[in-house]
């Protein structure tokens, strides 16, 4: 039976991964824009990103722009692979 990926299946993380995979290769999105786009609070987004980072699915880069801290998020190659496998597993359940 095709296995759903529990890290990715959770609704907020599914949205995060779908957003990241729609970026160009190696493109980053900043934390604030991602939260606004997905209507997630900073705390909520931060906690989900941490889980995705622990799984090796996203890279999180903390930097400064002038004196302001800024956080950028990007999909890893492993994250892209895992997301595509998850979508395939979903499609198998929904359409086959």
């Amino acid at each position: 039976m095709s296995e759903l990926n529990k890290v990715i299946h959770e609704p907020a993380r599914l949205r995060i991964m779908a957003t990241l995979i729609s970026l160009r290769k190696d493109e980053q999105i900043d934390f604030g824009s991602l939260g606004k786009l997905l209507e997630l609070s900073d705390g909520n987004l931060g906690s989900h990103l941490q889980k995705l980072e622990t799984a090796g699915y996203v890279d999180i880069e903390k930097t400064f722009e002038g004196k302001r801290p800024k956080t950028y998020v990007a999909l890893t190659a492993e994250g892209g692979k895992a997301f595509r496998a998850h979508v395939k597993a979903l499609e198998k359940i929904l359409y086959e």
Copy 2:
């Protein structure tokens, strides 16, 4: 933002609903066959079906065949509607 249905999104329940929606209208499947098909234990399947029944998404009919108790499961109209809405919400996240 399109909302995922938390009752349906859970992996085992997504599989149950996808199986039931593939039946003909008003067709039932027996509990044992459903569990075998989805590789779910009786306890696990029973607990998920209870949640789906509470939400009004499935009908559960307990009956006897001779002296053996037999349980049949079918999708309700409301369940079909909720499942289709959930698939639409998923597709919106995955493909738009």
